[in-house]
Symmetry: C2
Subunit: 196 residues, 2 copies
DNA sequence: TTTACTTCTTAACATAGATCAAGTGTCGAA
DNA sequence: TTCGACACTTGATCTATGTTAAGAAGTAAA
C-alpha cells in the first residue's frame, strides 16, 4: 500500500468515525472492503442504461451526474468533489438500469464498494448502518432544502447561496455546469452575474 | 390498550418488518417506545420557531408541512397521509428551532417518539438503524426525483405524474395545497386542469 | 336561513427566465 | 502557430407561470 493510498483510506475512516464508533479490528475490515479506482477527466463512470455497480467515495477530484432529456439536453443534478460519495443510488440499491450518467470533471481518485460487498460489510460491521443512516438523513434534509429553494427562491438567490456555501465549486467547475445544477441556462446565469 | 390502538401498532411494526428482522421481544420494546397521540383538523402539530420534539408515524389522517416566506406566503413541501412519517427532521435531529409549520388537514391519529427516546431505542434495538437507513435512502432518492421534476419538467407533467402516483391525495386534499406542493399557484393549476 | 369563509375558476396583464443567434476569449492538440 | 472546441457573454424575442382582481359554488357557523 502506497503512502498516498493510506492517506485516502484514513480520510474515509475519519468520516465514518465522526458519527459512529469504529474499533481497530473494524477498521481493517472496512478498508479491505473498499477498492481504490480512478478515472480521467471527461471519462464516464456510469452510462445511462447500465446498472450502477458501485458507490464511490471521492478521495480527490470532481464528478457530475446528469440525465439527458427527450430533446437531448443534459440536466445536472449533482456535482461532487473531494471527500463525498457519488453513485446512482436508485440503480445501485435496486440493481436495475440507471437513467443517469456520471462523468469526471477532473482526474479523480475514488474508493469503491459493490452492492453485494456492502451488504456483506453491513453484516460484518453493523455499526456502519448508523453511519449510513445519518448520511442519508443529512442528504435527505439537504435535498428538501434544495427543492424548496428551486421552487420558491429566485435564480439569483440560489446563485448567491451557492457562492456562499460552495465557493470551491466556482474555482473548479465551469459555469455552464453550475447553471444547470442551479436549474437555469448558462445565458441566465451570465445575466445574473452581470447584475451583481 | 384498545382494539383500535392495537391495529395502529401492528401497522407500524408491519413497516419495520418489511426491511429488517424484528423478534417478538423487540416488538414490545418498540411498541412501548411509541406514544399514541392525535390532532384535530386545522390544528398545528409544529409551529415555526419551536423545536420539533417528535417524529410522528401517521396511522390515520393527513398533514401538511410548509414554511412562510418573507412576504407571508405559505409554501408546502410535504403532504403526508396514512402509514407514513412526518416531522421536521432538521429541527428534530439537531434539536434547534424549526423554520417550518406542520398542520393537520384532517383529524389525525399518530404514534410519536421523542429524540432522546429514539436514541435510546437505537441502543435497545440496533436493527432499527437498518430500517431507518433504508427509509432515509428511499426518501432521499424520492426527494432528488422531485427536485429533477421541478427543475426540468413542466407543471403539467408534474401534475399528471402526481395524478398517476398519488390519486388518493386528490380525493382528500384541496387543490390549493396540491398546487403549492407542485410548486405553482392555484390559478396555474386551474388553467392546467382546464387544458386536459 | 342567512352569513361568512373556503375552494376553485376565469380573465387581463406582468415578468423571470428560456430560446435563438451571434460574437469574444482561451487553451490544448496538431 | 494555427485551428477548433469549449466557456462565456450579449441582445432580441418568446413563453410559462405569476399577479391582481373578481366572481361562483359549496360548506360551516351563527
Amino acid at each position: 500500500m502506497t503512502e498516498t493510498q493510506k492517506t485516502e483510506d484514513n480520510k474515509l475512516l475519519y468520516y465514518f468515525k465522526k458519527w459512529t464508533v469504529i474499533t481497530p479490528e473494524d477498521e481493517s475490515v472496512i478498508l479491505s472492503a473498499f477498492e481504490p479506482c480512478s478515472i480521467k477527466k471527461k471519462k464516464d463512470l456510469l452510462l445511462s442504461g447500465k446498472t450502477c455497480k458501485y458507490v464511490y467515495f471521492i478521495t480527490r477530484g470532481c464528478l457530475r451526474s446528469f440525465y439527458i432529456d427527450s430533446k437531448g439536453t443534459e440536466h445536472i443534478y449533482q456535482i461532487r468533489m473531494d471527500n463525498s460519495w457519488i453513485s446512482d443510488l436508485e440503480s445501485f440499491f435496486t440493481q436495475t438500469p440507471s437513467k443517469y450518467n456520471i462523468e469526471a470533471l477532473e482526474d479523480t481518485q475514488m474508493l469503491r464498494i459493490s452492492f453485494s460487498r456492502l451488504e456483506q460489510l453491513y453484516e460484518e460491521v453493523p455499526k456502519l448502518e448508523r453511519y449510513f443512516r445519518i448520511l442519508f438523513q443529512k442528504a435527505y434534509i439537504n435535498a428538501l432544502k434544495r427543492l424548496n429553494a428551486n421552487m420558491w427562491e429566485t435564480a439569483m438567490d440560489r446563485y448567491n447561496d451557492m457562492l456562499k456555501e460552495n465557493p470551491m465549486m466556482f474555482k473548479r467547475v465551469p459555469l455552464i455546469y453550475i447553471a444547470s445544477y442551479l436549474g437555469i441556462t448558462p445565458e441566465s446565469l451570465s445575466r445574473i452575474r452581470k447584475r451583481i
